[in-house]
Symmetry: C2
Subunit: 220 residues, 2 copies
Amino acid sequence: MFVKPILTVDVVCFTLIQGTLHTLLMKREKEPFNGQLALLGGYIHTEEDSSTMDAAKRVARDKLGLEVTYAEQLETFSGPLRDPRGWSASVVYIAVVRPSMVKETADFYPIGTTWTKNAEYNLAFDHNEILFQAVSRIRNKSTYSSLPLFLMDSTFTLTELQNVYEGMMQSPIDKATFRRKIIEQGIVEPSGEILDTKLHRPAKLYRATDKTIQLFKSTI
Amino acid sequence: MFVKPILTVDVVCFTLIQGTLHTLLMKREKEPFNGQLALLGGYIHTEEDSSTMDAAKRVARDKLGLEVTYAEQLETFSGPLRDPRGWSASVVYIAVVRPSMVKETADFYPIGTTWTKNAEYNLAFDHNEILFQAVSRIRNKSTYSSLPLFLMDSTFTLTELQNVYEGMMQSPIDKATFRRKIIEQGIVEPSGEILDTKLHRPAKLYRATDKTIQLFKSTI
DNA sequence: TAAATAGTGTCTGTCAGACACTATCTT
DNA sequence: AAGATAGTGTCTGACAGACACTATTTA
């Protein structure tokens, strides 16, 4: 029989703060890389986790006290050198949490517009590379993917939704085009309510359709 | 400390036989699932593999005697039930081998046009699900992705290349559109040679460009 | 009416697919 | 010339982005 590699999960946890993409980083409190910033991570608990996705959500819940609203597998990173403790593999998940649920923003670090492979933060393990890939994936998602929906509260105006898309993609979107695409894709529907700011013309409120919620459920 | 999960790699190995997509399946010769068909798989060898990609290529080489020409990570499948031996995770790779290198076609099984989730072959473990995902991925790759190039010999005519694309995608492509797209994407270039069948107008031979070969190298 | 944001109608450049056309070879 | 495949020119419908327009509210 062979030496079993170490298997962990890491979570790249994104949210939007003041319209800017932020990611969660924790200062490590033990070796290796003690004191250095790192992604959220942990071991699989074989007695309680029914999948690596499950483990990732548990890790986020335990260390952060937050339910993630969406998670998807990014990729599995592996090799003999990435962890000094030995040959390891880490299944990495991209997760998003609603800005409105984040109470403590101290551990969220901004992802600049000019994000490059050259590490902005000097992260432990191979987490610079992982974060780079995660940001690329999230930015390159098709312009009108439903991912940004998981950053919204239960109802929202189309203008609010557009702002979130623009925050994620880091590029302005034409209002008319945005609305046409979002509506025709059927990922949102009017809730029937109206948001009246008493300042100008009130906006219709929308919510994610069942179709989109299914996508969410399937990631649980 | 926790019980370490089992970590394996599985390889979904595709090739084209008579214009039809085929995948490699092996009859298992030990428990669990003795005698049943399964994907190619194996354990990580921590002394010799420098990544799970490496392990996947080694597995293909050892069990098949074939160098794969391209491999990419599909996804990691995990859970307590998928392997009766215990909580396991498998990093799954999609690989392709050149048809011209396959001597023994007996272990390659056709992927029908009407491929659905309903298992055509009754595979061991969760390999039905894995194969389904792999076929979906390969079929849904953008129509003009460079993946089919890795099924070609070193030089080829554009008509041959188009046939391979059509075999993978299972749908006819317009000749003029195909040529324009392929050329403008810069993934192939004329080799300068000519293929003369002595039957009709000879065709120019092409080869993959450096750009594409880099993509291949980066997967090693 | 002015200010502000919500929401829409329409033009245009781009591009993939359709398809007919030309080109070059053998017999 | 006929037959066969290689390779190209051109039209068109769909559609994303640009942008100006209308709509609805408060003050």
